[in-house]
């Protein structure tokens, strides 16, 4: 046991762990040449994706497009577009503002008398003519 291998385990316990790990069947050995070729191909794929992305970002059009989208998003967040007013809500608001007329209902209900206002105004003439 090396000095750095502090683990509180007894030799028997260490042996048990070693046996347990060794108990598994050895892994099927890959063909290392094929393995490395496959790895190189995967790495090359990643590199080409990275290069393509790098080139895409380096172009002025994508940068302008991205900046434009980001600005539009920012503006929309800060100043949301005003919605068209809801007509029904507007009606309700107007009616609400005129509710104080109810206090003068007694006047309003007599307004039909005014239809005869012309008659009333000329009442004196009628009386004198009759008189």
């Amino acid at each position: 046991m090396t000095a750095e291998r502090r683990d509180d385990l007894t030799d028997a316990e260490r042996d048990l762990l070693a046996r347990a790990v060794a108990a598994s069947a050895p892994p099927p050995e890959p063909r290392w040449g094929e393995y490395r070729a496959e790895l190189r191909a995967r790495l090359e794929t990643r590199r080409s994706i990275g290069r393509r992305l790098g080139r895409w970002w380096a172009r002025p059009a994508p940068i302008a497009l991205s900046l434009g989208l980001a600005t539009a998003l920012l503006l929309f967040t800060l100043h949301p577009v005003e919605r068209r007013p809801d007509l029904a809500a507007l009606d309700e608001a107007m009616l609400g503002a005129r509710l104080d007329l109810l206090e003068h209902y007694h006047v309003v209900e007599r307004l039909d008398l005014l239809e005869n206002f012309e008659v009333i105004r000329r009442l004196d003439d009628v009386v004198s003519r009759e008189g």
């Binding site: 347990a20 790990v21 108990a23 069947a25 892994p27 890959p30 290392w32 490395r36 990643r46």
Partner: protein, 192 residues
């Protein structure tokens, strides 16, 4: 005659990989491929998954080489990447593994251990030993992924508990607890 490239330390190779030296990458892969694959296989128990995970770990080394600070050994840093890839692989694969396991359980009542390839020849004289080994393997298989990683890094890769703690990103006492619990589980499995 010693090849200079072969004599280069892992840490030096890693610095060269950070400078995008493909030869250094090839040397490092050749140096670690067998260990990486064996460790991945021990954790994943599947040849194709082990191949995939170990290759992914090498690709991550290539991508992150410039972040290797050199304050730990390269092997510890590499094992950390590899173990993380394997644990991620297990987590990702869990949902469909369960589905497949459910289907195959319908087909067969055989246990997972019984479905594994036989552990070498099993002549009559060694029957008891083979059974013991099978039970030990079963016990290791039933440990949690992190416990199993601790056991494998300790007993197979011969890392210290401090190094295992670094690889698994846990405190050193946690590694000791993992090892003691593994021993307890193995003893329980072997109890008559």
């Amino acid at each position: 005659m010693t090849d200079d490239r072969e004599a280069t330390s892992d840490e030096t190779l890693c610095r060269r990989i950070a400078a995008r030296d493909d030869t250094a990458f090839d040397v490092l892969v050749t140096r670690y491929q067998a260990r990486a694959y064996r460790l991945a296989w021990s954790l994943l128990r599947d040849a194709e998954d082990a191949r995939d995970a170990s290759q992914e770990a090498f690709i991550r080394v290539w991508a992150a080489a410039e972040r290797f600070r050199g304050d730990a050994r390269f092997s510890t840093w590499f094992y950390r990447i590899l173990v993380n890839v394997c644990l991620d692989h297990k987590r990702r694969g869990r949902w469909w593994t369960r589905l497949i396991a459910r289907d195959s359980d319908r087909d067969s009542d055989e246990s997972l251990v019984e479905r594994q390839p036989a552990i070498g020849p099993d002549p009559g004289d060694h029957a008891t030993e083979a059974q013991t080994m099978t039970r030990l393997w079963k016990a290791v298989h039933q440990l949690s992924a992190q416990q199993r990683a601790a056991v494998i890094l300790y007993a197979q890769e011969h890392l210290s508990t401090a190094e295992i703690a670094d690889v698994l990103n846990v405190a050193e006492p946690t590694v000791r607890v993992h090892l003691h619990r593994a021993v307890a589980a193995l003893r329980k499995e072997l109890a008559p």
